[in-house]
Structures are given as structure tokens and as C-alpha cells.
């Protein structure tokens, strides 16, 4: 009997691996088809603009509010630590570098995945479940070009803009707490920040990260929706998978990108 259980266990592992490889292959093919079907997203840019509104503009509130609070917490925590060494004037540097290099792109991507990513998955999944995608196919309209690609590019364009706004509002939050409430000198807050933040090393790196996160989160959200079983349970699971997979992908990619950008691996 134990041999039989071990056999079943191996069989289940094998099946999971094979399914995983199939799914990876399908996801890669889906991604390539999305890129190939992207012509309409630029020729008829109105389609992409519409999706930028749904993915980007409607995510602004959560991004701005979260950015403000994260910046304020950074201001409080940073001040507490820096004053021990008499370096509270470096508060602006700490807040800005933390946000521009890491927290801005990463937290904005996590929030984007929870708000816009889950919405994209649910929308595409429901379009599939209610045969809207099949209807489009039967009208000789490619759903990848008409539905998927505009959402993909909208996500890729929105993500760096949202991350930039997150960082900007976060710096303002740090300023509010550090300068306005605690009394750190405004001149040293801004001047040290300007001196320490390098455009190429810090800002461009942050933008590159947010573009990569935008690609990853949007591609995951679209694939999960397109691949969702056409049932209420299937769409629900796909939406959950989008948030979980996107979060893990963002954190994993962040580590890899950081290693390349700042450690020169």
C-alpha cells in the first residue's frame, strides 16, 4: 500500500509539471500573439486611450492616497532613525530614493494588480463566459487585436505614469511630515534630495522597473482572463490567481532588476 501511495504521489507531481509546462507554453504563445496583434492598438489609438482611462485613470485615487500615506510614514520613520545620527537634513534624500528606486514602482504595481489587473481578468473572463469573444470571432474580428492588445498597451503605458505619481505624492507626504509637521529645514530637505537623486541611476531605473512590472501584471491579468474556465467559479479563481501571481512576479522581478541595476551583477 505505501508503494501505491508513493506511485500516486509521483503521478500527481508529474501531471502538475506537465500541466504547468503546457500552461507556460500557452501563455507564451498568447503573449506573442498579443504583440503580433498590436497594430490596431496604435492605428486606432482611441481603443487604447479608452483602456488607459479604465486601467490608469480609475486607479489614480488608490495610487495617490497610498503614495501620500507611504510618503508620510517614510517621513516619520526616516526622521526617527536619522535624528539619532544628527542627519535629519538627509530626510528628503531618504524619502526620495526609497520611493523612486523601490517603493514607487513596486507598491504602485501591487496596487495596480489588485485594482486594474483583477478588473481586467474579471472582464475578459466574463466576456469569454458570456460568449462575447466567440461572437467577435464569428464576426471575423480578432479578439486578441480588438480586446486584448489595447488593454495590454494601456497597462504598459499607465504603469510608469502611476508609479511616477505615486513617488511624487510620496515625496510630498514626506515633506508634509518632515518639514511642515516636524520642522526639518525645507532648504536642506529639497537641496539634499536634488543632490542625491541621480536622473539616470535612480529615476530611469525606476521607470524601467515600472515598465517591466506593467508588462508583467497586464500580461498575467489578460492571460488569466482569457484562459479562465467559462464559469463563475473559473472567473473567480482566475481573478485571485491574477493578484497572487502578479504580486509574486513583481517582487521576483524587482529583486532581479535591482540586482542588475544597482549591484551591477
Amino acid at each position: 500500500m505505501p508503494h501505491r501511495k508513493v506511485g500516486v504521489g509521483f503521478s500527481n507531481v508529474g501531471r502538475a509539471v506537465v500541466d504547468g509546462v503546457w500552461r507556460m507554453g500557452f501563455a507564451t504563445r498568447f503573449f506573442v500573439m498579443t504583440l503580433l496583434g498590436s497594430g490596431d492598438s496604435f492605428r486606432r489609438f482611441g481603443l487604447t486611450i479608452r483602456e488607459i482611462y479604465f486601467s490608469g485613470v480609475l486607479s489614480l485615487i488608490i495610487i495617490l492616497v497610498s503614495g501620500l500615506f507611504v510618503g508620510m510614514v517614510l517621513g516619520l520613520q526616516g526622521y526617527e532613525t536619522l535624528q539619532k545620527y544628527g542627519s535629519e537634513s538627509a530626510l528628503g534624500t531618504l524619502v526620495a530614493l526609497s520611493l523612486v528606486r523601490e517603493l514607487g514602482p513596486v507598491l504602485a504595481a501591487l496596487l495596480f494588480a489588485s485594482r486594474a489587473g483583477s478588473a481586467i481578468t474579471a472582464e475578459i473572463g466574463l466576456m469569454k463566459a458570456t460568449e462575447q469573444l466567440a461572437a467577435m470571432e464569428m464576426m471575423a474580428v480578432d479578439p486578441i487585436s480588438r480586446v486584448v492588445a489595447p488593454r495590454f498597451w494601456a497597462g504598459v503605458i499607465s504603469m510608469p505614469l502611476l508609479a511616477a505619481m505615486f513617488s511624487a505624492v510620496g515625496v510630498f507626504g514626506g515633506y508634509l511630515v518632515g518639514v511642515v509637521f516636524i520642522g526639518v529645514d525645507a532648504g536642506s530637505f529639497w537641496s539634499q534630495m536634488q543632490a542625491a537623486v541621480d536622473f539616470r541611476q535612480d529615476i530611469v531605473s525606476g521607470v524601467i522597473k515600472s515598465v517591466v512590472f506593467g508588462i508583467a501584471v497586464t500580461a498575467i491579468a489578460l492571460f488569466e482572463g482569457y484562459d479562465a474556465p467559462p464559469t463563475a467559479e473559473g472567473v473567480s479563481h482566475a481573478t485571485t490567481r491574477t493578484v497572487v501571481t502578479s504580486a509574486l512576479a513583481v517582487l521576483g522581478l524587482d529583486f532581479i532588476l535591482t540586482a542588475f541595476m544597482f549591484r551591477g551583477i
Partner: protein, 279 residues
């Protein structure tokens, strides 16, 4: 298979299906069916749920590829068309899905205009006129500004019908057009299918298990069971049929060759009443 003969129809068939076989993996859905749909006719494909009707429709539309056999539409072997060829053919087809499949983020007007805007370069003023004409044909011109969520089931089906005929297709396919409709909507949809087919000079395939409504409007009927065509004939021939399967289906009888029960093990076995368990 019955001994019915194909009725007098024009020699040119828009759809020809020969020895069509289809399987999902090892599960056979269609087991070598033969059908013809002559131009200008309304043909019904009937049978119990799961008998392969919708699969047949999907094979005609090119959404699925046959395991064996042939599906020809307007002389084209559907399975051999490349993507461009398939899309070219689909531009001459319209399909009404079971629950309409309207685009929920677009208004009624935009739903009907969708294919015109995607497939043609017609000026917006012409699109507007055409859409309103199509909506008028299904009695919903006054509802053009509503969203799909504001429509009843019957209205949604009529909008989907207007959308399916937006570009005056040569072939219109209906997947369960009568499912879940009240008696008035049912008659309205049935009447529209016949009227639109005749007005457009199109060919219609109606996949349904609503026998009474469809027999009023169709020219020819194929009966399917378990992946094969078990009977065929005109509406009158079907009504007068003495074949047990057809008779049971047409008259909705409980007793007949179609069993009430799903295939099952002996009752005593499921209830564990064998000698060993009785004590």
C-alpha cells in the same frame, strides 16, 4: 436512419456536410453525419441536449476542426481555410448565440454597428441609417440607446438577431434561439427568423430543441441523437413520423427510446443490497 428523401430543393447547396466526425479527445461527439443546407432555406437541427447540435454549428463556423470528414460552405472546405480565408468566409455569416452574447459595454446601437464599423469603411451617417433599419426590422429602433443590461431576454435576443444580420449575410446560424423565452417572444423570434431569411435571400440553420415553434418556420429538419442523424424530413413529414425516437421527441412523451435515466449501475448495487451487504 429513415427512408425519407430530400425534398425538391435547388441543386446548389450552401452547406454540405459529409461523413463528419468530431471527438473531444477520446469522447466522440459526431460519428459520421451527412447534411445539406440548400440556399434560401431554413433548416433545423434538432435533438436532445448534448447530441452534437452546437458542435455541428461550430464546425460549420470553423470554430472547431473536424476529426474526419468534410464541411463545405459555399464550396469552401472550412477546415482547410487559413485564418484570412476563414475570416473572409465569416464576413458572409451571421450567428445568433444562445443568450445573445451582446457586448455588455456597448449600447444596443453600438452592438449592431460593431461589425459595420470593424469590417467596412462606411461613413458614420450610413452606419447610423443601416443600424436603425436593422433595429426597426426587429422592432427595437426605439431601444437603440439602451444598454444590454436594460433589456429583457427576448429583447436581447432580437438585438443579437439585428446584429447577426447587420451585413446581410448569406448564412445565418442560430444556436438555441428559443431557449428561455416567453411564448410571445418565442413567436416573435420564430417569425423574425423566417422573415429575415426570406427578405435577405439567406440560408438559415436553426439549432434547437424547441420542436413546436421551429416546425412552424423551417423547410427541413435533421434529427440528431448521440452524434448521428437519426431522421430527417420536412416539417409535415416530421410531424407525421411514426419513428419511435421522433414521435417521442415531437410529442414530448415520457416513455420511448430516450431514457429518463442517465446510464447507471443496477439499483441494488448502488444501494448495496447484494447478499453480502443485506445482513
Amino acid at each position: 436512419m429513415t427512408s425519407w428523401k430530400q425534398p425538391d430543393v435547388p441543386t446548389e447547396n450552401l452547406v454540405e456536410i459529409n461523413n463528419l466526425t468530431f471527438a473531444y479527445g477520446k469522447r466522440a461527439i459526431l460519428k459520421g453525419i451527412n447534411m445539406v443546407m440548400p440556399r434560401g432555406k431554413v433548416v433545423a437541427v434538432m435533438g436532445l441536449s448534448g447530441c452534437g447540435k452546437t458542435t455541428t454549428l461550430r464546425l460549420i463556423g470553423g470554430s472547431l476542426k473536424p476529426t474526419a470528414g468534410s464541411v463545405k460552405v459555399a464550396g469552401h472546405e472550412v477546415a482547410e481555410l487559413d485564418r484570412e480565408g476563414l475570416y473572409r468566409l465569416r464576413r458572409k455569416m451571421g450567428m445568433l448565440f444562445q443568450f445573445g452574447a451582446l457586448f455588455t459595454d456597448l449600447s444596443v446601437f453600438e452592438n449592431v454597428a460593431f461589425q459595420m464599423r470593424e469590417q467596412t469603411d462606411l461613413p458614420e451617417s450610413v452606419v447610423r441609417d443601416l443600424v436603425l433599419m436593422k433595429l426597426d426590422a426587429v422592432g427595437l429602433r426605439g431601444a437603440h440607446s439602451l444598454m444590454p443590461s436594460e433589456l429583457s431576454g427576448g429583447m436581447a435576443r432580437r438585438v443579437a438577431l439585428a446584429r447577426a444580420v447587420a451585413l446581410d449575410p448569406m448564412l445565418i446560424m442560430y444556436d438555441e434561439p428559443f431557449a428561455g423565452l416567453d411564448p410571445i417572444s418565442l413567436s416573435v423570434i420564430g417569425n423574425l427568423i423566417r422573415r429575415l431569411n426570406d427578405a435577405l435571400g439567406a440560408t438559415s440553420i436553426v439549432v434547437t430543441h424547441d420542436i413546436q415553434e421551429s416546425l412552424k418556420i423551417v423547410d427541413y429538419v435533421y434529427f440528431m441523437s448521440d452524434g448521428v442523424v437519426v431522421a430527417e424530413g420536412t416539417a409535415e413529414e416530421i410531424k407525421a413520423s411514426t419513428l419511435p425516437y421522433v414521435h417521442q421527441f415531437v410529442w414530448g412523451e415520457i416513455d420511448g427510446p430516450v431514457s429518463f435515466h442517465y446510464p447507471r449501475a443496477p439499483y441494488s448495487q448502488d444501494l448495496r443490497l447484494e447478499a453480502g451487504h443485506a445482513a
